[in-house]
Symmetry: C2
Subunit: 134 residues, 2 copies
């Protein structure tokens, strides 16, 4: 049985592989990693996305639209708790001449099929830009 460090390395490798596909416009890496009962937040949706079919429908609409030339996971942390592991990190990506900074939470669960994501939360890293001058 792998130790906690081995689990952390495995989870980070899974996330990086899915992110590499995502940044080429391919959402299937995350869909293959996500559990049937996944729940999902990102800053573009006004409601949580509940369940894999709903997430697949959403991601299908984004297929081919994402293109990041470079990206980097910053300060990853893995908290291993029983059969779950809470991966948190910041993502810095460059694409289309702009840099984007994200906060990310991925809660993984050890399922019979392997580690699966049961919760994803993407948000923009702050602080927010100062208010426009009056």
């Amino acid at each position: 049985m792998p130790d906690a460090t081995g689990d952390a390395d495995e989870i980070l490798a899974l996330e990086e592989r899915a992110l590499a596909r995502w940044c080429r416009g391919d959402p299937d890496g995350f869909l293959e990693l996500s559990a049937p009962d996944v729940v999902y937040f990102d800053p573009f949706r006004d409601r949580r996305v509940d369940g894999l079919p709903a997430l697949a429908a959403y991601y299908d609409g984004l297929r081919g639209t994402v293109s990041a030339e470079r990206w980097e996971i910053v300060r990853p942390s893995v908290q291993r708790v029983g059969v779950t592991a809470v991966l948190t990190f910041q993502l810095v990506s460059q694409g289309g001449g702009a840099e984007h900074r994200w906060n990310a939470t991925e809660v993984y669960r050890r399922d019979p099929a392997g580690w699966r994501i049961v919760h994803t939360h993407w948000s923009f890293t702050g602080p927010p830009p100062p208010p426009a001058p009056p």
Copy 2:
């Protein structure tokens, strides 16, 4: 031993109690609920906050500054996984003449002392406002 529904009710009650204090400017409800190894994201910080001492220092600086006249937890979900429970919800709060909408993740762990938060992620609910006219 309480069943999963009992756990979900208990966790939601803990969160509501801490939120009620938070909305009166008192961060101690969340500090008492948070585990020593808590990791924390919100949209005002450019880095994750790691560990209870760092979170306490941050929250101490906010003591007395938060005041929400009304607030509501919307569509809470509790995913119970082994000794952890992933609580996600949206929060709508009114204060100072403005309405604020949040996405929230709280990962609770069943510790000997009771349920404790090991990860918090607050972000603004989207979609973001349209860009200002040129």
